[in-house]
Amino acid sequence: MTAHTVYTPRSIDRLLTEEEYFVPGHRACIGCGEALAVRLACKALGSNVIIVNGTGCMEVVSSQLPCTAWRVPWIHTLFENTAAVASGVEAGLKALNRKKIKLLPDTKVVAMAGDGGTSDIGLQALSGALERGHNFIYICFDNEAYMNTGIQRSSATPYGASTTTSPAGKVSIGQVTWKKNMPAIAAAHNIPYVATACPSYPFDLMTKVSKAVATNGPSYLHILSVCPTGWRCPTELTIDIGRLAVQTGIFPLYEVENGKYKLSLDLLKLRPVTDYLKLQGRFRHLPEDVIKKIQQKVTEDYAKLKEEASGGTLTLTSR
């Protein structure tokens, strides 16, 4: 394992609260990056929240009746409707506040779902909720496949990854489509705040969550969550692999504030994608030419993102 320099932005005056809202005892796998991301996000959210959780890994590991790992109000209903349920909670609180039936003026509604629940089956409900401008945070915990049901591909699965429904075979390299750009889709709704994060950069993640809390209107956070079970990597490498995703430019950290892109970590030089790919069983089968193709795409995409960030304009061309 590598020793890391911790990246701490200046706005964090207190490093970390000791308060836990997503507590031990849940059934997440060893080395789960998503459970860590949820724990950190909850620390930044604080106690004045209502969490709306979509079906997926976190719901399954945290809520088996009669137990719960949540110390904040939490509701789970279905898979594809997380953003719609959050809309309803927000509308309910708004009406109750306005009618002085119950006063919870500063309570933030936070929707949490996985990549499948966000970029596939829940995309319509999410788009509707973002468009309607509800005052809520939507957090997508992206582990790049349907891990809870056994590692099936989603539209967030990266090119070349072998999953149980995009298996690498004699005539297939595995996933043959490029990862859907969810943050750009969220930003296209002209919402005030969009950001990407990764628990390998915990303070960056928590700063972004705090910013989302302070945002009036919808905000969207996309958090890369390393999944040793589905990515077939050693459980002790969760943090390293998350860092490599960022440092190779595969998963850049950035914010889109009122349409303006801003890189959170401006990398002068990208590490080669092989540093990231070679640690994971899901990419083990990839031949040289495919790796080259991935490298080329990552380099290009990163350059475009940098350009957007420096120009400060929102370009919505397909990449």
Binding site: L65, V72, W74, L78, N81, A84, G88, Q124
Partner: protein, 391 residues
């Protein structure tokens, strides 16, 4: 003092929701429900109804937003029809299983394909087992009264279940009828403020909708079943109080000129109005026939049905939905099932008709009764007959 006005039934529903002082309306437009939500949006836009109107992007999201709103402790209303109800399907189960008191008006509509915007009960029957309390209505006054009762029933601590008020699309939604509205103060007295026992609230965190392993799932479902069955007493209590307060009475199975009748016709929804005229005509001609109207669909009124048909020899049931490849209309097969164990029971003859908005006239009902009696005497090779089909 109550006021009596001529008003379209859909608009009357919105006015009832306003009288009930709903906090949140989340809805998606679908014919023939549109006038209900349009008028609600207008009431909110004009500040006449102090509520959040959430114009969602689908019925699935409409019902999902209702889950969130009800869980937050807000009084919640929506309306839909046909395909919209089907798109809500899985969410409907969650609403009842999580004990969320949502009120929904359903403008009953046929299901695709072929696409039909007109009324029948295919949509109702497809959501029969979703665990909602379901009430049929036959005219505008009944709809308004039962929407008011629905909030009271749903939010009662002994119930905490969602309620569907069924009204036939077009045949009822788009009619202009004289309707009596109670005064605001009377409604305020009749429907106390919503006091959902364990809402989502950071000062008292609750976890709702956990994952149910095999060791607990059966118990949760059985508790739900006991709860829905027990809700019938509260439905009766609320109807009774409504009758005492406002002078209009409702019961699970209603009789129209049934005393001593050997033959009974059973209908639900707006067709009952025509059926009553047909029964009057047949009675004038000396025929021995009465009309039963099924009002409470869920929880199913077993005892009331048994009681209502105890002296009859033939019960003719007209369903407005077809259970493909099955025993005929869903209502008919449930009535048969309810009577099967009885020592003395009438013959139950099933008809399916009025599909996709096709009207059944007075003469039509006369024909159904005539044919029903014929089948009861000679038997039929079919499980049921379809009425008015062109070969």
């Amino acid at each position: 003092m109550a006021t009596r006005v001529g008003i379209e039934v859909s608009i009357a529903i919105s006015e009832a929701v306003k009288l009930a002082n709903a906090d949140v309306v989340a809805a998606y437009p679908i014919t023939p429900q549109t006038h209900i939500v349009e008028h609600l949006a207008e009431l909110v836009a004009n500040g006449e109804l102090n509520a959040e109107f959430v114009p969602v992007e689908s019925e699935h999201s409409a019902m999902s937003a209702c889950l969130g709103s009800a869980a937050a402790g807000a009084r919640t209303f929506t309306a839909t029809a046909g395909q919209g109800l089907e798109l809500m399907h899985e969410v409907l189960y969650v609403a009842s299983s999580m004990r969320l008191p949502i009120v929904m008006a359903v403008a009953n509509r046929a299901l695709s394909a072929p696409i039909s915007i007109w009324g029948d009960h295919s949509d109702v029957m497809a959501v029969r087992d979703t665990g909602w309390i379901q009430i049929f209505t036959e005219n505008g006054q009944e709809v308004v009264d039962n929407v008011l009762c629905a909030f009271r029933i749903a939010e009662d601590r002994r119930v905490l279940l969602p309620v569907m008020i069924h009204l036939d699309g077009f045949h009822l939604t788009h009619m202009i009828e004289p309707i009596t509205f109670p005064e605001q103060e009377e409604v305020d007295r009749f429907i106390p403020p919503n006091d959902y026992p364990l809402p989502l609230d950071p000062s008292k965190p609750v976890a709702m909708g956990g994952f149910g392993p095999p060791s607990i799932y059966t118990e949760t479902k059985w508790a739900q079943e006991i709860n829905l069955r027990a809700a019938k007493d509260v439905v009766l209590e609320v109807w009774n109080e409504f009758g005492n307060t406002f002078g209009r009475n409702y019961s699970p199975v209603e009789n129209y000129r049934c005393d001593g009748c050997r033959v009974l016709l059973l209908t639900m929804g707006s067709f009952s109005e025509t059926a009553m005229v047909a029964v009057d005509k047949m009675k004038n001609e000396g025929k021995d026939v009465g009309l039963l109207k099924l009002r409470l669909w869920r929880p199913f009124p077993f005892n009331e049905i048994r009681q209502a048909v105890r002296n009859a020899e033939v019960v003719i049931v007209l369903d407005r939905a077809l259970s493909f490849g099955g025993p005929g209309g869903p209502v008919c097969s449930e009535i048969r099932a309810a009577l099967y164990q009885q020592e003395k029971k009438p013959k139950v003859i099933g008809f399916v008709g009025g599909l996709g908005g096709r009207d059944i006239s007075v003469a039509g009902f006369e024909e159904i009764v005539k044919r029903g009696i014929e089948i009861s005497e000679t038997g039929s090779s079919q499980e049921f007959e379809i009425f008015g089909v062109r070969e």
